[in-house]
């Protein structure tokens, strides 16, 4: 039973090569084509909030006094901390009056705001809580401690086993 016409092995090699070629041409650029330009960041304080019927406009004065008018779209993401410091994260469209209320609090508390926007349409608005960013040094410490603990622990474990085995080999060889 000679299945020469079914030489799947070399057919699969050719098909595999072809497929890699097509995939590199076709899929990636379709995906990454809609990545439109760089987003900019503004750090500053909320000076005024006007909400017209179709969208809400925030005017922000940044550290050196320049005033920007930022338009909040439906999918802008808000990450605002209240006085106690708990972070509240939600999309603007999910709960508009709650978001407006929170933005007003931020305005009264004059808390520093970081806005990530693309040609005036805001992607995300977050409280730049620099003081509690300092406090999370403990996360930094935990990560580095765990990293080095695991690396050196593994290293020591390996070298100890290596030494034991070396001795055993010497013992067995001498016997």
């Amino acid at each position: 039973m000679e299945n020469k016409y079914f030489k799947t092995k070399n057919i699969s090699y050719i098909l595999l090569a072809l497929l890699f070629l097509i995939s590199f041409l076709l899929i990636p650029q379709k995906i990454y084509s809609d990545d439109d330009g760089e987003d900019e960041i503004i750090n500053g304080f909320i000076s005024a909030i006007e909400s017209t019927n179709e969208n809400t406009i925030l005017s922000i004065t940044d550290n050196n006094g320049v005033i920007y008018d930022i338009i909040i779209t439906s999918d802008t993401v808000l990450g605002l901390d209240n006085a106690v410091g708990e972070r509240w994260i939600d999309r603007f469209s999910n709960d508009i009056n709650e978001s407006i209320k929170r933005l007003n609090d931020q305005q009264n508390m004059l808390s520093p705001i970081t806005i990530l926007h693309h040609s005036k349409y805001a992607h995300s608005i977050t409280t730049k809580n620099s003081e509690n960013l300092k406090t999370n040094l403990n996360y930094l410490f935990i990560v580095f401690a765990l990293a080095w603990l695991s690396f050196f622990g593994y290293l020591i474990y390996l070298s100890r086993r290596l030494l034991n085995i070396k001795e055993e080999i010497k013992l067995l060889k001498s016997k």
Partner: protein
């Protein structure tokens, strides 16, 4: 002074140790704190090199598995095993540093963000390779099947990364915070430290692989001696 196998490794490990100390100094002292995120941004100098390390580890596993299937030489199988073990540790660190970075900055441990999903699946792949190998009865078939898993896992890695990106594009997670644009703020020193850390962690990875390789070799040697004895 004849450089025997063993003390070559010692020199290599001591050298890596020195490089690591310099790297730590650079990360914690030399590089300025990034204005946007503050101190927590220094996790970048651990997260990126470790991610690069686990990627390199899965590539080494794939390459040595293919060579083992092709050449049937024991040496390739040992490299695959050692790369997988160190890769698992690097994968765990990648996952951990990713999560502990997300917590202070985005306020949540886990989001649908592509990199986090990808590192979790990569970590599970490593664990699957090691567990499958440990539970399979010893012998040539065990080595051959582990090589096959290594190859499939490695081919799967870019595909999973791709799928994670597509998934993130379809379900954008609620990342409210400057971390989302951490890479838009790279100054000169930050790039230098990052590169140096990548070099350091590659050295750490290779010394771990080297050590595990020699250990594996000696284990085989003992088996041979026992066989000849009986």
């Amino acid at each position: 002074m004849k450089i025997t196998k063993l003390n070559f490794i010692n020199i290599f490990i001591i050298f890596t140790g020195i490089i690591v100390v310099i790297d730590m100094w650079m990360i914690f002292v030399w590089v300025p704190t990034e204005i946007n995120q503050g101190a927590i941004q220094r996790i970048l100098y651990l997260h990126v090199p470790v991610a690069w390390g686990s990627m390199a580890a899965i590539c080494i596993v794939a390459f040595s598995s293919i060579m083992y299937l092709y050449k049937k030489a024991e040496k390739w199988d040992r490299i695959a095993l050692s790369a997988a073990e160190s890769g698992a540790i690097f994968g765990a660190m990648m996952l951990l540093s990713g999560m502990l970075w997300a917590r202070p900055v985005w306020g949540v441990f886990w989001t649908g963000e592509a990199k986090l999903t990808f590192s979790l699946i990569l970590f599970i792949l490593f664990i699957a390779y090691l567990m499958f190998r440990a539970y399979f009865p010893k012998g040539i078939q065990q080595k051959r099947i582990s090589a096959v898993i290594g190859i499939i896992g490695a081919i799967d890695t870019p595909i999973i990364y791709f799928a994670a990106n597509l998934w993130e594009r379809a379900h954008p997670p609620l990342i409210a915070g400057p971390a989302a644009t951490s890479d838009s703020f790279i100054s000169q020193n930050i790039i230098l430290t990052l590169l140096f850390s990548v070099v350091t962690f590659t050295l750490v990875l290779s010394s771990l692989i080297f050590l595990r390789y020699t250990l594996r070799k000696n284990e085989d040697e003992i088996d041979l001696i026992i066989i000849n004895k009986t």
